[in-house]
């Protein structure tokens, strides 16, 4: 059996596949964050809490309303997106003219409230959610046993990422969204409803987090802590990829997932910190990130 640095090749391949699964997750989460930051200049610290709300709402949908996984997949991101719209309309838009930091503080406070409420109601040990029947069991890939559900997560995340990128970069709506956030005054002069565009952007970004939450529900224990555990890593991904670059977050998310997977095999104690090490290095060499715009959005 061939080995690389003492690790047998099949085991290494298996870890890379797992890294890919995690990477797709990071990509999906950092996509929403990147959209919100790139287009609205808001550092959305509530992103992790929205992800958590997506998972919790999936559980509630099943246990309180009898809505299964497939229904949740469609409904929950919508609900989370609408909640985001409500927050943006009522509170967030008052902070646009101010320093970045106010947006950060506000969304951070929001995250604490949401997590606190869920923790009060559900505790931290988590809520169980079964893998949907269609995806139970796994695929024998020869070098590893990959649960069908994880394979589905990869496909779904990649599909959504590609779809979002297409909408934003290749459709008229996307063009309006990008224009409205780059130069709101001019676009408003053309008669386009800029505030509505901004609201929609925030709603989409947050909805993506909610979708990630639905995808995560069967795979991880649904816990109020799940967002805060992940959000810092996702921020690092966005920073490395370049804030505001959608393609950057997708590519970086997947790439970092793979690197993290390799670290877990060769030196697992560093698996928590490797992403931050890379972030530090990237910031030293190229502060705007790997794919970012060189001018900082003000």
């Amino acid at each position: 059996m061939r080995e690389i640095l003492g690790v047998p090749l099949p085991a290494l391949l298996a870890q890379l596949v797992l890294g890919l699964v995690n990477g797709c997750f990071y990509a999906l989460l950092s996509l929403g964050l990147s959209i919100i930051f790139g287009m609205l200049n808001i550092i959305n610290f509530a992103h992790g809490a929205m992800y958590m709300m997506g998972a919790v709402l999936t559980w509630i949908a099943l246990n309180q309303f009898g809505v299964g996984y497939w229904g949740s997949l469609l409904l929950v991101p919508l609900v989370v997106g609408l909640a985001g719209v409500a927050i943006e309309r009522s509170m967030l838009r008052r902070l646009y003219g101010l320093d970045n930091l106010y947006g950060l503080l506000f969304t951070f406070g929001l995250a604490l409230i949401m997590e606190g409420l869920c923790r009060y109601r559900y505790g931290v040990s988590g809520l169980p959610y079964a893998i949907p029947e269609a995806f139970q069991g796994g695929l024998d890939l020869g070098f590893m046993y990959l649960p069908k559900y994880r394979a589905f997560v990869v496909c779904a995340s990649l599909g959504v990422c590609l779809g979002t990128w297409l909408v934003i970069e290749r459709t008229t709506l996307g063009a309006y969204l990008r224009a409205a956030t780059e130069n709101p005054r001019l676009v408003q002069a053309f008669g386009i409803n800029v505030p509505a565009m901004i609201t929609v952007t925030y709603g989409i970004g947050v909805g993506l987090a909610g979708l990630a939450g639905v995808l995560a529900a069967p795979a991880t224990q649904i816990s109020p802590l799940m967002g805060s555990n992940l959000i810092i890593v996702v921020f690092a991904v966005v920073v490395i990829g370049g804030m505001g670059s959608i393609l950057g977050s997708i590519v970086t998310g997947i790439g970092l997932g793979l690197i993290e997977g390799l670290t877990k095999v060769f030196y697992s104690q560093a698996s928590n910190t490797i992403i931050f090490l890379i972030m530090a290095l990237v910031l030293l060499v190229q502060p705007s990130g790997l794919f970012g715009r060189s001018e900082s959005a003000s």
Binding site: A14, R150, K264
Partner: protein, 404 residues
């Protein structure tokens, strides 16, 4: 005239200082108990607000007063950070007149607080953390390790699993004091019982995903995967293992499992698992009475940590009452001389190294069909007397013991 006034004030000063020593009487005219715990993180379900409830129940049993002085409780969140825990302990001891600190889950935090307690000469009863370092390398005269430790749980479970045929092990270990302690204590027990350890992988505390570590465990072909972690980490390991179909060929062994974990995972996922514990709510009438009262206040059944916090607070107050003072040295000595019995502990004895030795139990998690009512999760397999369950004093690496 001035000299008399001068001597009078010196005498007054000396008298004040002498009484401030607290040798007779209660310091600060109040007995203050601090519950330092993880209120919001991965250990908050096994201790957290439930530990506060437990301590309050003990205080309520005394009617809120001991020796005519009020008992006050304060609580704080150490956020699983050793420095935050140490700072809070220091503040409590120095500025707020706290006489006793209990709980402190997270061994790193507990070790840090034990050093502060030693420095300040105040009693610290660890009911939450598990590392055996607290009664070995890091032992001191003011720290009592009360509820359980990694030796008791790891060894009891490890031996039971080896006897059932689980002779080769792979560990998934939380990378800090507790995880290392649990892995090492269990590994020693396995080797002594004739098994072998094939490997180990370290994961950061609160790891978001365990698939990678489980895959390494699977690749090792060990018969048993030992989970040297606790709380949310154990729950996630078990859930991920089920998803990857690992428990079809390998057994998962939980080396520190709490009833809160079983409740979160459900019996379907955990049936047949061994649980070594110092307490179970449904063992006898006394435990049931305590547990129902606890449930009425907190909505859940108590874990051994929460029951242990209740017991430690109760025994501390009893010692203070018997002595007539809350002086730390006197109370510590009294606790060491008392045979401890209450809803949580049977035949408890606190040794010179600070270890509270008491009956320990091995349970098996019931299958869903065997569970007849809510929280009916365990069946008792054996009761181990304290001397068998805990590390013998002769093997102790505690300087207080070895220097004699």
């Amino acid at each position: 005239m001035e000299r008399i006034a001068g001597m009078g004030s010196v005498a007054l000063l000396v008298a004040t200082l002498a009484s401030a020593q607290g040798k007779p009487g209660i310091s600060g005219d109040m007995v203050k108990i601090g519950v330092l715990t993880d209120m919001s993180g991965l250990y908050s379900d096994l201790s957290g607000p439930g530990s506060v409830v437990g301590a309050q129940m003990a205080i309520d049993e005394f009617g809120g007063k001991v020796l005519g002085k009020p008992i006050q409780m304060v609580s704080a969140d150490h956020q699983n950070k050793a420095d935050v825990a140490a700072d809070r302990a220091r503040e409590w001891f120095d500025r707020e007149g706290v006489d006793l600190i209990v709980d402190v889950p997270n061994s790193g935090a507990a070790i840090a607080v034990s050093k502060v307690a030693n420095e300040k000469h105040r009693v610290f009863i660890v009911t939450g953390a598990g590392s055996t370092r607290l009664t070995n390398e890091d032992c001191n005269p003011y720290t009592i390790h009360y509820t359980y430790d990694t030796y008791a749980t790891g060894r009891t479970t490890g031996q039971a699993v080896v006897r059932r045929g689980g002779t080769s092990w792979f560990f998934i270990t939380a990378d800090y004091a507790f995880g290392h302690s649990l892995r090492d204590d269990t590994a020693n027990a396995i080797k002594a019982a004739g098994g072998q350890v094939l490997g180990s992988v370290l994961h950061p505390l609160n790891a978001p995903d365990f698939s990678s570590y489980l895959l390494q465990a699977q690749a090792s072909n060990a018969k048993v995967i030992g989970m040297a972690n606790a709380g949310g980490d154990t729950i996630n390991t078990i859930k991920t293992a089920a998803e990857f179909g690992i428990n079809k060929k390998q057994t998962l062994a939980g080396l520190l499992v709490f009833i809160s974990d079983i409740h979160a995972l459900g019996l379907q996922a955990t049936q047949g698992m061994f649980v070594a514990s110092g307490f179970y709510w449904d063992m006898n009438d006394e435990t049931r009475k305590f547990a129902r009262a606890f449930q009425a206040k907190s909505g859940k059944m108590p874990t051994m940590v929460q029951a242990g916090t209740y017991s430690a607070t109760l025994q501390y107050l009893k010692a203070v009452q018997a002595l007539g003072t809350d002086d730390a040295d006197a109370v510590r000595k009294k606790l060491g001389e008392t045979s401890l019995n209450d809803a949580f502990v049977k035949n408890g004895q606190i040794r010179r190294d600070g270890r509270m030795v008491h009956d320990f139990y091995l349970f098996e998690v019931k299958a869903p069909s065997e569970s007849k009512y809510p929280w009916d999760y365990y069946k008792l397999l054996t009761t181990l007397p304290g001397e068998e369950a805990f590390q013998p004093l002769a093997q102790s690496r505690c300087p207080l013991v070895t220097s004699h």
